[in-house]
Symmetry: C2
């Protein structure tokens, strides 16, 4: 009673499509930022530091949902490039307050343009109005799922 060998019997649901397109978007974004010698997690870290400068590494780690030990290598990579600085807090010398350098801010600006191109690449099939409706729906889902705005959940465990 096997029907004709139709590919993939149940049509994929919205969640599957979200996962598939999200994976595609993430991979494409990784390619783009590779041109700046950056990995996606480093971009997220840059954005997090820009949003709330002076935070301790532990605070940032908690915000991003990553173990602190992972953050060390991330910060190292950005500090080696001169995009980020660790400032020792004089009142509590355990803490490393994270700040962007001027070069870091410049890189962030370049990333913003790059993000726009990325958006146009991914959403090329949609006109401006449709894109706005898509964004609105996605934001509603993100809020419903208690996602921290601007934070990619791929930091916690699998991406």
């Amino acid at each position: 009673m096997a029907a004709s060998p139709q590919p993939f019997e149940p049509p994929p649901g919205a969640a599957f499509l979200l996962s598939a397109l999200g994976s595609l978007a993430a991979a494409r974004f990784a390619e783009r930022v590779a041109a700046l010698d950056l990995a996606p997690p480093q971009v997220g870290l840059l954005r997090a530091i820009a949003a709330t400068p002076g935070q301790s590494q532990q605070a940032v780690a908690q915000l991003l949902g990553t173990p602190p030990s992972r953050l060390v290598a991330l910060v190292d990579g950005l500090a080696d490039r001169g995009l980020v600085e660790r400032h020792r807090n004089p009142t509590d010398r355990r803490l490393h307050a994270l700040h962007l350098t001027d070069a870091g801010r410049a890189t962030l600006g370049r990333l913003e343009n790059l993000g726009q191109e990325h958006d146009n690449d991914i959403c090329g099939a949609l006109d401006t109005e449709e894109r706005a409706r898509l964004r609105a729906m996605l934001i509603r889902i993100a809020e419903d799922q208690n996602l921290t705005p601007g934070v990619h959940p791929g930091y916690r465990r699998d991406c």
Copy 2:
């Protein structure tokens, strides 16, 4: 002239939201299928075999976009559980034709229900009509990006 420390200056675009929600959806799905002792790639393989039974491993590998050597372990895991069988092709004994067992089909049925629950979980913020519009837009994007329907691009290292 730094404005108030607003979190994440540029509002996230649709591509970022897609990536973030896709990551979330993938992680949640992984949790769900873990209850059946399955990993997401194995689920994709099950679905691929169900869609076109009797294919060689190499053909399936090409469809999914994964190196053949990776498929071996994947098939092994499913074969150990008795969900999949390798049938030697008598006319060409190099080939291993992949087929689902009855247990495999039963598991696939369970996965279908599980997928519906997953869909409802992720899209809980949207009513039925909105969900349909979201699906339609996502499908258009997927077609525009030349994604193989039903195949998760996460198999491909480069996509």
